[in-house]
């Protein structure tokens, strides 16, 4: 079995909405049915019992090794704790070759699972051992490592629940919510409004205390000290038990509480000094350790923290008791789990010693053995949720503390007997405030209710009803994509929005091109959706990206499918016929938002058939309103766009909007049929976006399709009295539309310059020249830059074959080189002629043409 062409589909794709790995698996003859291998299935189950059923009961089709691989990859992930359920194995046209698709929650984990599944299959085949436990552990650890931590994960889940799109920007916890100009960012519990100053302030415990005291918030008295002796002196000034802590620090490092003797203070000073040059001594407040979580101007959660401890049972020693507590699956070794394992280190031993124990002591039944002097979760403490008990005055002080320091998300640490009373009534105090507080203790407290802290943080980023989305229009189809995209973008710009656009010419933001080349894939889509200056996005969504990576967004507001027609680029990537192509292109329709629209060409049956898969509503467009599909749609009161009486008409129920073709220069007063199609699609999309009809009309009349705005899309030039048309069309449908358009224009003699890209099926290349042969007098064939897998001269020969029975062509020439071919055609032109140039290198050829036209025109002026 060979596995290759492994692709990570990082967005909705033709198989499913989830992220998934796709691979091509080639099985040897014997592997096409595992029933052929004696004992294989038994050996497989022995090594991975949880692989479960390989096919539903009673189904008799052979199970291939590829299918086993698929199921193993899925189930290994599932048993390692990944929330994945979808997988498929699909045969291809070639016997023994399959495409498998397996969902993943984290890409690297999915890839590792695929590798491990291959190892498993090989082990089952060769009867060699397979360490399942090690494999699952490896997967689990990798997943824990790369997936979002519990704090960030809670926030992301809350966002997803509100329909807010998100994207991880790093392997850490930096996440972007929303798109374009509405985006917001978080990094764990930091938001993009959390200021550097507030964070720096929060780290300086002394300055924090003095600022809080100035604001009238109860804080424990004390001061900074410069030596151990000074610390002892400060303690005497305070009188009573004290806390010694580093001035700068977090997570409780170096903090010792509740001490009194000079020896203890000296030791504590040394410990605090390790972490920070400056040390504080402050009054010890008796009571419990509370963490109050303030988000915005409200207390969202409060928890009582306990230091790590074990309870004696008179039988086990301290070490065993700790192991028992640590065996709780909620306790991990870092921050990834809701609790952390209790560490048996110097500090723990010191704490034991204080209580008269060591690790081998057996504490009596009921004895509470404390293992640390602070209750941070990161060193094994536990939390009890007390949110419902918080007194309003106490909450007010916590909120004031957070706002005084300036933190929008703040963990306020206070010590008091109970949160049921105001701080002032119990001589409690706020000991510090924390930026980017850990959320674990509120999400999964050891005791008590979980609190919706993720939701609270999302609410500070997005108000009620906001989801951070910008309008996204996805456009696909065989022909007319780029013009339609540009036209929609133009209409949106007319509304005052800054539009981000991806096309096969590049990425444009507010009319400035920021990337060149074919940018119709998910990467460019994601770039546009991350750009801070984009208010709306129109994304040409081509098959290549869809196959390689899936969509670059989760949902679009509008999906436009211009046509499928006879298809294009068929024969590649297992897309062999138009039905396959349709399945692929349908993906954007399947991922329309429920309150969005699909805009579909009713005259193209395959496109029209995609309507059934649309979660939102459908707008049909076609020149002819009497088509059965159009008539039915109208009868149901749905939206349609058609042509009638020299106008594009949009109709819903009884209401009509008319846009006269005479005022849409792109269509040349309706003469260019294919442009009318593009206009209908764009109008429907604009309608779906609720753009004002006056703005639509204005946009249509101001849209110029020239070299600058739509290079290679029916660019018309005047050359010494003859008409030149340059276009990039290169599939039978496009050529057909061009011919129809050309036939509508007057001409004495018609010439066409064509090459024909090599990466198409023979029949498609032939088909092009067949169409042309019936419409053009003079045909100039040239070999293009990119032979794309064909031998020299192969394509020209195919084209000549197509011209064999031409009805109109009298003269055929073969030229090497695009520019020479163009020049040859130009040289032969006389006034009144028409010449269609099917260009290949769009920018260069257009530049060359433009230069030739300019020099010809200046000659005219000079004379």
């Amino acid at each position: 079995m060979e596995v290759d062409r492994i692709r990570a589909l990082r967005g909705p794709n033709l198989w499913c909405r989830h992220t998934a790995l796709e691979a091509v698996v080639t099985c040897r003859a014997a592997e096409i049915s595992i029933a052929n291998s004696a004992g294989f299935e038994d050996r497989l189950r022995a090594r991975f019992p949880e692989i479960d059923v390989l096919q539903p009961t009673g189904q008799g089709t052979p199970v291939s090794l590829a299918q086993v691989l698929e199921l193993a990859t899925l189930r290994l992930q599932a048993y390692a704790g990944c929330p994945v359920t979808f997988s498929r194995c699909s045969p291809t046209l070639e016997p023994g070759t399959f495409q498998i698709v397996v969902e993943y929650s984290e890409e690297v984990v999915g890839r590792l699972a695929l590798e491990l599944a291959q190892t498993l299959c090989a082990a089952a085949a060769n009867d060699t051992p397979f360490d399942l436990h090690a494999a699952l552990t490896q997967l689990r650890e990798l997943d824990e490592d790369v997936r979002l931590g519990p704090s960030t994960g809670a926030i992301v889940n809350a966002g997803v629940a509100r329909g807010i799109p998100y994207r991880r920007l790093t392997e850490g916890s930096l996440v972007q919510f929303g798109w374009g100009s509405r985006q917001r960012r978080i990094q764990a519990a930091d938001t993009d409004r959390t200021s550097v100053i507030a964070e720096t302030l929060a780290q300086d415990k002394e300055l924090t205390k003095s600022i809080l005291a100035t604001a009238g918030i109860p804080v424990p008295g004390g001061r900074p000290v410069i030596s151990a002796e000074d610390a002892v002196a400060a303690a005497q000034e305070i009188g009573g038990r004290v806390v010694v802590k580093p001035r700068f620090g977090n997570q409780g490092k170096g903090v010792t509480v509740n001490i009194e003797t000079p020896e203890q203070i000296t030791a504590a000073y040394a410990s605090a000094r390790e972490g920070s040059d400056e040390v504080l001594v402050e009054r010890f407040i008796p009571g419990h350790d509370y963490r109050v979580l303030v988000i915005g101007n409200a207390v969202v959660a409060a928890a009582r923290r306990e230091p790590p401890h074990v309870n004696g049972d008179g039988v086990h020693n301290v070490r065993e008791l700790i192991d028992e507590v640590n065996s709780d699956p909620r306790r991990g070794s870092g921050h990834a789990t809701s609790l952390t394992k209790i560490k048996l280190d110097e500090i723990a031993r010191a704490s034991l010693a204080d209580q008269g124990y060591d690790i081998d002591s057996i504490p009596p039944r009921g004895a509470r053995v404390i293992l640390r002097n602070n209750s941070n979760l990161s060193t094994g403490g536990t939390a009890t949720d007390v949110t419902d008990d918080v007194h309003p005055e106490l909450a007010a002080r916590a909120i004031e503390a957070a706002q005084t320091i300036g933190l929008d998300v703040c963990g306020v640490d206070m010590v008091c007997e109970s949160v049921l009373k105001p701080l002032e009534e119990q001589s409690g105090g706020i000991v510090e405030v924390n930026a980017a507080p850990g959320l674990r203790m509120h999400l999964a407290p050891a005791f008590g209710k979980s609190r919706p802290v993720g939701e609270a943080i999302i609410s500070t980023l997005f108000g009620p009803g906001e989801d951070g989305r910008i309008p996204v229009v996805a456009v696909t189809g065989t022909n007319g994509k780029t013009t339609t995209v540009r036209l929609i973008a133009h209409l949106l710009t007319g509304c005052g929005l800054r539009v981000g656009m991806t096309t096969t010419d590049g990425v444009y933001v507010a009319d400035q091109r920021i990337d060149t080349g074919d940018c119709s894939g998910p990467r460019s889509a994601r770039s546009v959706l991350s750009h801070p200056d984009v208010d709306a996005a129109v994304l040409e969504t081509a098959r290549g990206g869809l196959l390689r990576e899936g969509l670059g967004f989760d949902r679009c507001r509008v999906a436009v499918v211009t046509n499928i027609g006879k298809g294009d680029h068929l024969g590649l990537n297992f897309i062999t016929n138009v039905d396959d192509l349709a399945i692929l292109k349908r993906v954007i329709v399947q991922n329309v938002a429920p309150d969005g629209y699909a805009v579909l060409n009713a005259a193209d049956p395959i496109t029209a058939g995609m309507a059934a898969g649309c979660p939102g509503a459908v707008i049909f467009f076609a020149a002819d309103r009497t088509l059965p599909l159009m008539a039915t749609h109208q009868a149901r009161g749905r939206r349609l766009v058609f042509v009638e009486n020299d106008a594009v008409v949009a109709m819903e129920g009884g209401v009509e909007h008319r846009l006269p073709l005479a005022r849409i220069p792109l269509t040349r007063r309706g003469a260019l049929g294919f442009q009318v199609e593009n206009v209908m699609a764009a109008v429907a999309a604009a309608w779906a976006l609720e753009i004002d009809w006056q703005l639509i009309a204005a946009g249509l009349s101001s849209f110029n399709s020239d070299v600058a705005t739509a290079p290679g899309r029916f660019n018309v030039f005047d050359y010494r009295g003859a008409t030149l048309i340059a276009d990039y069309g290169h599939n039978p449908d496009a050529i057909g539309a061009l011919v129809k358009a050309v036939e509508a224009l007057p001409a004495r003699r018609r010439t066409v310059v064509i090459s024909g890209a090599g990466d198409r099926r023979d029949e498609d290349i032939l088909g092009q020249s067949v169409i042309l042969g019936d419409a053009f007098d003079h045909v100039i064939l040239y070999e293009d830059q990119c032979q794309r897998g064909r031998a020299a001269g192969e394509v020209i020969k195919l084209l000549r074959d197509g011209l064999a029975g031409a009805k109109r062509t009298r003269h055929i020439e073969e030229i090497k080189g695009e520019f020479r071919a163009i020049d040859t055609a130009l040289a032969a032109l006389k006034p009144g002629d028409l010449c269609l140039i099917l260009i290949d290198q769009v920018e260069e050829a257009l530049a060359h043409l433009t230069a030739q036209v300019a020099s010809a025109n200046s000659d005219v002026i000079a004379h």
Binding site: T214, T404, G406, V509
Partner: protein
């Protein structure tokens, strides 16, 4: 009897005071016997003094021209005055800002009040004591280590921990009329007051996102985000070994730049020459080495504040291989030459990363030509602090940049001030402040009040004690919930502490006791008391209003001093001051037939009678009428609608009786 100069008492006045607007140190000085020995009677004194401090020749003194003070010395002047000038000069030589000084006789023989600008009161105290020692040494012909004294001041000044940037921000704040205060001992500044405040530390503002700061520090992440928005970038590779460096250099093809930490970057013209690369790698030191393609000849750094270009510098790169840049190369300012396309690129880069203040480092051949027409790229983004250090040699840089930062934080000329009412006088200030506080709460805004017994926000007294009114005022203005501030600062507070704010929207003077004395401050005549109280009127903003008691002639003398408008209040409408003021078109508040009248020139707004018996009876008690009219006038000054004034007086009448 030996000659001596004894400093009896030092009082820091930490805000506007009877001498001037700025904080000063006020010293009561007893010159004893020297009262009989003016400078021209002390043999050789003037010569020795000039030798110690030659720059005294610059002092203008009362002659208004350089050399003025020396003339006075020759003609004969007394030690208090001399002490003033010497202290000022020591501060000047130590680079401590501030040049205000006064010396005045008091009513006691040989006792003077000497007043010195106090940028930092501890520094000025040390300067004063040093000055005293210097003067005595000059009198007694003893040696004095002038240089050491100045060094001492400089060291202590540096120990204040104020960087030039912070000093620049403080100066810019003053220019813009934005109140500014240091928080703690570092560089943290509070700009503005109360709910309108913003904190600032060097170039970190409250709007500088911590996440953005982190993104900027991660060059890889930065490049990813910037690249996806189509911004031109300078590629880079981190090289941990000579081999890695050679590989990276080979990848980049043409000349490369090698950088490490803060070492001067080195240009390697032939990336195939392993020997050179190895030499440079080792010379660059232990920090991680970064290799970049040498994209263009010039490096630029653009300081962007709020999307605008404020300052740009060019740092020429050495061209020959491994030749370091001359370290003294003044960074060339090129702000006006930067092409708009570069500004756009830099602004977008800052937006993408999320920084409101950012330094964009980039390379280009010509900064004055479009970015798309040449080889150019962004290296990285950093915070502004290091940039500011780099441009400091240029004298206009720091002021312009600090001004731009403040303009970004306080746009359109806002100052972060609150409506602040200062109330002073010999009596009635507490009752007026309390009543005013009540009235203003009806506006729906949160009112903070600083009183001798504590600080109140709305009606809640904040815990904690303050020793001085000045301290209480600072705490009040630092509180983020306060939207309107009322400060009760009596005569004693202004005299002994200075005002707790630099300017106010409304200044109320209730009355003056001409017989009041403050012996420890050498205040014992009415003119001095007047000088203290008028401070409240001096600090009223040009857009503000002074509220003055029309019945008190001393208070009325202050009327022309106010930069803004004046409202005169009195119990009776036919008080002379009220009539005169209304004749000028001014505003007045008084009572007629038991009803409060708010008058503007000839127009009158007469409030309805009070329905509550105790409210009405308040008008019958003289003391209460004063309080009510003063508080009503101040509330009116802050534009509280008349109906609310009336409702407030009606409702809180009971409390007024309780305070009596």
């Amino acid at each position: 009897m030996a000659k001596h100069i004894e400093i009896i008492r030092i009082t820091p006045l930490r805000g506007p005071n009877r001498w001037t607007y700025r904080p000063v140190l006020e010293a009561v000085v007893d010159i004893g016997e020297l009262e009989d020995y003016p400078s021209n009677t002390l043999d050789g004194f003037v010569g020795r003094l000039s030798a110690y401090l030659p720059s005294l020749s610059e002092h203008r003194c009362s002659y208004g021209e350089p050399g003025g003070f020396l003339r006075r010395l020759d003609e004969g002047t007394w030690s208090g005055h001399i002490l003033e000038h010497v202290t000022l000069e020591l501060q000047n030589l130590a680079g401590i800002p501030g040049g205000f000084g006064r010396a005045r006789e008091t009513s006691k023989h040989a006792v003077y009040t000497v007043v010195i600008s106090a940028f930092d009161e501890h520094l000025t105290e040390i300067a004063l004591l040093s000055a005293r020692d210097l003067v005595m040494a000059a009198i007694e012909d003893r040696p004095f280590e002038v240089a050491a004294a100045i060094e001492n001041l400089k060291t202590r000044r540096d120990a204040l921990g104020l960087s030039p940037i912070t000093l620049g921000l403080i100066a810019a704040a003053e220019q813009r009329g934005i109140p500014c205060r240091r928080l703690g001992a570092g560089e943290l500044l509070q700009l503005g007051h109360g709910a309108n405040q913003q904190c600032l530390r060097l170039t970190d503002t409250e709007r500088t996102s911590a996440i953005a700061d982190g993104i900027a520090r991660d060059r890889e992440l930065c490049h990813e985000l910037l690249g996806s928005c189509g911004l031109p970038l300078v590629k880079f590779t981190r090289a941990a070994s000579v081999d890695a460096a050679c590989r990276a250099a080979a990848d980049y093809g043409d000349a490369v730049v090698m950088k490490a930490g803060t070492a001067v970057p080195q240009i390697v013209v032939d990336p195939g020459d392993r020997g050179v690369i190895e030499r440079v790698f080792n010379a660059l030191g232990d920090d991680e080495t970064v290799i970049e393609p040498f994209l263009a000849a010039h490096e630029y750094r653009l300081l962007m504040v709020g999307g605008k270009l404020i300052w740009a510098i060019e740092e020429p790169r050495g061209v020959a291989p491994a030749r370091p840049r001359p370290s003294s190369a003044a960074t060339l300012e090129v702000t006006d030459r930067v092409h708009p396309s570069f500004v756009q690129v830099a602004a977008l880069a800052a937006r993408v990363v999320g920084l409101n203040i950012a330094v964009v480092a980039c390379v280009a051949e010509h900064i004055d030509r479009p970015v798309t027409e040449q080889a150019a790229g962004i290296i990285d983004l950093t915070s502004g602090a290091s940039f500011l250090s780099a441009v400091m040699p240029s004298p206009e840089a720091l002021p312009r940049i600090c001004d731009a930062i403040l303009g970004h934080l306080f746009p359109l000329g806002t100052t972060g001030r609150l409506p602040l009412v200062g109330i002073t006088g010999a009596s009635d200030t507490s009752a007026t402040a309390a009543l005013l506080g009540r009235l203003l709460q009806l506006s729906g805004k949160r009112v903070g009040r600083a009183a001798p017994d504590g600080i109140y926000v709305d009606q809640r007294r904040l815990p904690g004690r303050t020793k001085t009114v000045w301290e209480a005022t600072q705490r009040l203005l630092a509180n983020r919930w306060v939207e309107i501030a009322v400060v009760e600062n009596g005569t004693g507070a202004i005299a002994g502490e200075g005002l707790g704010y630099d300017r106010c929207a409304v200044g109320v003077v209730t009355n003056m006791d001409p017989n009041a004395t403050f012996p420890q401050l050498a205040i014992d005549n009415p003119d001095q008391v007047y000088a203290v109280l008028r401070t409240q009127v001096d600090v009223v903003l040009p857009t503000g209003i002074a509220v003055l008691n029309g019945v008190d002639p001393w208070v009325m003398r202050m009327l022309p001093l106010c930069d803004g408008e004046v409202i005169v209040y009195a119990a009776l409408g036919y008080t002379a001051a009220v009539i005169e003021h209304r004749a000028r078109g001014g505003r007045a508040v008084f009572v007629r037939a038991g009803r409060l009248v708010l008058a503007r020139g000839a127009e009158e707004m007469v409030l309805p009678e009070f329905t509550r018996a105790d409210a009405a009876s308040n008008f019958n008690r003289n003391g209460d009428v004063q309080t009510i009219t003063a508080a009503a006038a101040a509330a009116w000054a802050l534009e509280l609608p008349a109906e609310l004034i009336h409702a407030g007086l009606e409702t809180y009448a009971g409390e007024l009786a309780a305070t009596r």
